[in-house]
C-alpha cells in the first residue's frame, strides 16, 4: 500500500513535469497549428537562464523563473517575426524551419557551454508522511503546474487578447474581416508559448541539470500529451498529462520504467486510433 501511495505521489510529480513541459507546445501547436520542433530548445533556453541567473548572478530562483519566461518569450517573438510568419500556410516548411532553428540553437549552446551544468536545488529537503517521502521540490513542481495552467486558462478565457486568440483559432478569415490584427496576435501567442517553455526549462533545471540537449527528450512526450488531450483543450492537456504521468509511474512501480513507457505509448496509439481528435477535445460543430 505504501508503495502504491508513494508511486501515486511520484506520478503526480511526473504529471506536473509533463504538463509544464507541454503547456507551451499546446498553445503553439494546438492554437496556432504550428508544429514547433524547436520546443525542446525553448525549454533548454529556460534551463540555461536558470543556470545563468542563479549560478552566475546569484539571483533568487523565482526571479530566474520570471526572467527565463521573458528571455524565451523574446526569442519566440523573434523567431515568429523572422521565420514562422512567412510560413503559416505551409505546415511542412514550418516543420523544416523550426527543426533548423532547433539545430542552430542546440549547436550554439554546445559551443558556449559544452559540459552539462548544475543548477542548485532551490528547495532541498523531504516531506515525510508515514512511509511516503515526498521531496519538497516535487510539491513546488505540482503547484507550479497548477499556477501555470490556471494563469493560461485565465488569459485565454478572461482577457480580451485571449478571446481574440480563441476567435482566430476558430475562424481566421472571419476574425480578420472584423478588423482584428491577427498578425500581432500570432506573434503574441507564439511568444507566450515559447515563454512557457522557458519556464519549463527553468523549473526542470534543478532536477535534471542543464545541457544543450536537455529539452529534446521532452518533445515526444509533449506532443503525445497534446495529441492525447485533444489539441485545443488546456484542461484536456492537464488530464492527459496526469494519465500519462500516473500511468507510467504506477506501471514502473509494478514492472519497470521501460515497460511503463512502452505500455503507456502503446495505449496512446490505440486510443488515438479510436479517438483521433483526442480524449478531451471540445465538440466541433
Amino acid at each position: 500500500m505504501s508503495v502504491f501511495l508513494s508511486q501515486l505521489s511520484n506520478g503526480l510529480n511526473q504529471s506536473a513535469v509533463l504538463l509544464i513541459a507541454t503547456l507551451g507546445l499546446l498553445i503553439i501547436f494546438g492554437m496556432m497549428g504550428v508544429i514547433n520542433m524547436a520546443h525542446g530548445q525553448m525549454i533548454m533556453i529556460g534551463g540555461f537562464c536558470a543556470f545563468i541567473f542563479t549560478k552566475m548572478f546569484r539571483a533568487p530562483f523565482l526571479l530566474a523563473v520570471l526572467l527565463s519566461f521573458c528571455f524565451a518569450a523574446a526569442l519566440g517573438a523573434a523567431i515568429e517575426l523572422t521565420v514562422i510568419k512567412r510560413l503559416y500556410e505551409k505546415p511542412t516548411e514550418t516543420i523544416l524551419a523550426t527543426y533548423a532553428i532547433s539545430v542552430i540553437i542546440t549547436e550554439g549552446a554546445r559551443m558556449i557551454w559544452p559540459l552539462s551544468q548544475n543548477v542548485a536545488m532551490p528547495l532541498p529537503g523531504v516531506l515525510k508522511l508515514g512511509t511516503v517521502s515526498i521531496p519538497i521540490y516535487n510539491i513546488f513542481m505540482v503547484a507550479m503546474a497548477v499556477v501555470l495552467l490556471v494563469m493560461t486558462v485565465m488569459l485565454f478565457k478572461k482577457t480580451k487578447i485571449g478571446r481574440k486568440i480563441s476567435a482566430i483559432t476558430q475562424n481566421r478569415e472571419m476574425t480578420e474581416c472584423l478588423g482584428i490584427n491577427t498578425s500581432a496576435i500570432d506573434t503574441f501567442t507564439f511568444s507566450y508559448g515559447a515563454g512557457l517553455a522557458g519556464i519549463a526549462g527553468c523549473v526542470l533545471a534543478p532536477m535534471v541539470g542543464v545541457s544543450y540537449n536537455m529539452g529534446s527528450s521532452y518533445l515526444t512526450d509533449s506532443f503525445l500529451t497534446v495529441v492525447l488531450g485533444g489539441v485545443q483543450s488546456m484542461v484536456g492537456a492537464a488530464l492527459s498529462s496526469v494519465l500519462i504521468g500516473e500511468g507510467r509511474t504506477l506501471l514502473a512501480g509494478i514492472l519497470n520504467d521501460t515497460w511503463g513507457m512502452i505500455l503507456v505509448y502503446f495505449a496512446i496509439i490505440v486510443l488515438v486510433r479510436f479517438r483521433p481528435e483526442g480524449l478531451f477535445a471540445k465538440e466541433r460543430r
Binding site: 552539462s116 540537449n213 520504467d257
Partner: protein, 420 residues
C-alpha cells in the same frame, strides 16, 4: 521591402547550407599536401550530435598525441598525417566515414568510435577492407574482433577489485541499476556473479530508459530493498537526475552510496558537489591521479584546449591509443600491411598517464589499471590503485569458465565470438 526580405531569406538559406560545407572543407585542409613521406592515420569521432561533447575531448587527445609523436621525430623517420572524419553521432555515418578513410584516404589504421553502436557498425567494413580500428572507450566486452584493438577497459577491470571492496566495506546487500541497453546489462551480469561469489546478495535490479530523467521509481525501490549500496551502470546525463533524485528522495550517501562504473569528471560538475559527495566510482584513470605523468598530461591538455572539455578517462584512453598505434607502427617495416601491423600490437606497452599499459598478447584488449575513488568536494579521491595493469577479460572467466585460461582470439568462422 520585398527584395530585402528575399535577401534575408537567401542569406539564411546560404548560412544553413554553408554550415556543413565549412565542416567538410576543414577536413580537406587537414590532409592537403600529403606526400610519400607520411603515414596516414584516421581519427573518427563526432563533432556534432548527441555524443559530440564526449568525443570532442577524444579528438583533442588524438591530435595532441600525434602532434607530440611528430615533434619527437615521428615513426622511423616518417611523420604521421592524421585525417579527422566526423560521423555526427550516427552509427551508419560511422561506417560511411570509415569506408572513406580506408578506401579514399588510404589510412593504415583509425583511432575512433565512441559508442558501441558506432564501433559495431564499422566492423563489417573493417573486415571487408582488412583495416584496423583502435577503440578507446570502456566497453561491455563479450566481443573480440580480429581488426579491432580494444584500449578502453573491460568490465572485469572495473569490477573484480571494486565489488569485493564494496561488499567488505559497505555491506552485503547490493542493488543493481543501469541505463536500459547492452553496456549496463552486461556489466551488471558480471557484477551479480561477483556479488554472489563473495557472499553478497543482489536485492534488486532496475533499468531506466537511456537518457531518462525520472528516477523516482528506482529510488523508491532502492529504499524499500534495504540495500547497503547501489551498483550503478547509469550512463551519461541521466546521472545528474539520478544523483539528485537519490538525495531528494531521502537516500543518504553515508548509508547507501551509489557506486558507479559510468561517471567521470564531466558528470561531476553537472551533478553538483553536494549531491555527488560520498558516492564511489571505478575507472582505470581519474584526472586527479597524483603522479608526474598524469599531472603533466592534464596540464598539457588544459593548456592546449580551452574549449570547455575536461580530461576524463576517455581523453586518457584516446591519447594512449595513439601512442600504442605509434609503437606498433615502429615495429612494422611496411605500415600498409595490416596483418603485420595487427601482429605487432601483441604485447606492446606504453607508459600512459595512468601507468604502464599493455596490449594483451592474444585477445586484442589492453591491460589497464583498476582504480576506484570516493567523491569528495566535487573531486575523485582515489582510494585504490592496482599495483600494475590488470588483465582484460573480454569473455569474463567468472561467467564463461571455459575461457578462463585461454585468453582466446577466435577465428573468423567462430560465430559465438563477435557480431558477424
Amino acid at each position: 521591402m520585398k527584395k530585402g526580405r528575399r535577401l534575408i531569406a537567401l542569406a539564411l538559406a546560404a548560412a544553413l547550407v554553408a554550415m556543413p560545407l565549412s565542416a567538410c572543407s576543414d577536413n580537406d585542409s587537414d590532409h592537403a599536401g600529403s606526400s610519400g613521406n607520411t603515414i596516414k592515420v584516421g581519427i573518427l569521432f563526432s563533432e556534432s550530435g548527441s555524443t559530440a561533447l564526449v568525443e570532442k575531448t577524444m579528438t583533442n587527445a588524438c591530435k595532441m598525441a600525434f602532434d607530440e609523436i611528430n615533434k619527437s621525430g615521428g615513426i622511423n623517420g616518417k611523420k604521421i598525417e592524421y585525417i579527422h572524419e566526423d560521423y555526427a553521432s550516427d552509427p551508419s555515418k560511422a561506417t560511411e566515414k570509415m569506408k572513406t578513410l580506408i578506401e579514399e584516404d588510404k589510412v593504415v589504421a583509425t583511432v575512433g568510435c565512441y559508442t558501441s553502436a558506432s564501433r559495431q557498425a564499422t566492423l563489417p567494413t573493417l573486415k571487408e577492407d582488412n583495416s584496423l580500428l583502435i577503440y578507446p572507450t570502456y566497453t561491455e566486452g563479450e566481443e573480440v574482433h580480429p581488426n579491432v584493438i580494444y584500449v578502453g577497459c573491460m568490465p572485469n577491470q572495473q569490477a573484480t577489485e571494486f565489488v569485493p571492496y564494496l561488499l567488505k566495506k559497505l555491506g552485503k546487500k547490493v542493488y543493481l541499476v543501469g541505463s536500459d541497453y547492452v553496456f549496463p546489462k552486461t556489466c551488471n551480469k558480471q557484477a551479480r556473479a561477483l556479488v554472489n561469489m563473495y557472499g553478497g546478495s543482489v536485492v534488486g535490479e532496475s533499468y531506466v530508459p537511456l537518457g531518462g530523467t525520472d528516477f523516482s521509481t528506482v529510488c523508491e525501490k532502492i529504499k524499500k530493498s534495504g540495500a547497503d549500496f547501489v551498483y550503478s551502470a547509469v550512463i551519461g546525463d541521466s546521472n545528474t537526475a539520478f544523483f539528485k533524485a537519490f538525495k531528494q528522495y531521502g537516500l543518504d550517501a553515508a548509508k547507501t552510496p551509489i557506486c558507479s562504473i559510468g561517471i567521470d569528471e564531466s558528470n561531476l560538475q553537472a551533478i553538483g558537489a553536494d549531491y555527488a559527495e560520498g558516492h564511489y566510482a571505478s575507472m582505470p584513470y581519474f584526472s586527479s591521479l597524483n603522479t608526474a605523468a598524469s599531472k603533466k598530461f592534464v596540464q598539457s591538455y588544459n593548456s592546449l584546449y580551452k574549449d570547455g572539455t575536461k580530461v576524463t578517462v576517455l581523453t586518457e584512453s584516446a591519447y594512449s591509443s595513439c601512442y600504442l598505434l605509434a609503437a606498433a607502427l615502429k615495429k612494422t617495416s611496411d605500415p600498409s600491411d595490416t596483418n603485420a601491423l595487427i601482429k605487432s600490437f601483441s604485447g606492446i606497452t606504453f607508459d600512459a598517464p595512468q601507468g604502464q599499459i599493455k596490449v594483451d598478447k592474444a585477445n586484442h584488449s589492453t591491460w589497464v589499471f583498476s582504480r576506484f575513488a570516493k567523491i569528495h568536494n566535487g573531486n575523485f579521491d582515489i582510494l585504490y590503485s592496482s599495483k600494475s595493469a590488470a588483465r582484460p577479460e573480454p569473455w569474463p572467466s567468472i561467467l564463461y569458465p571455459q575461457y578462463k585460461s585461454s585468453n582466446f582470439m577466435p577465428s573468423w568462422s567462430d560465430p559465438k565470438c563477435y557480431p558477424q
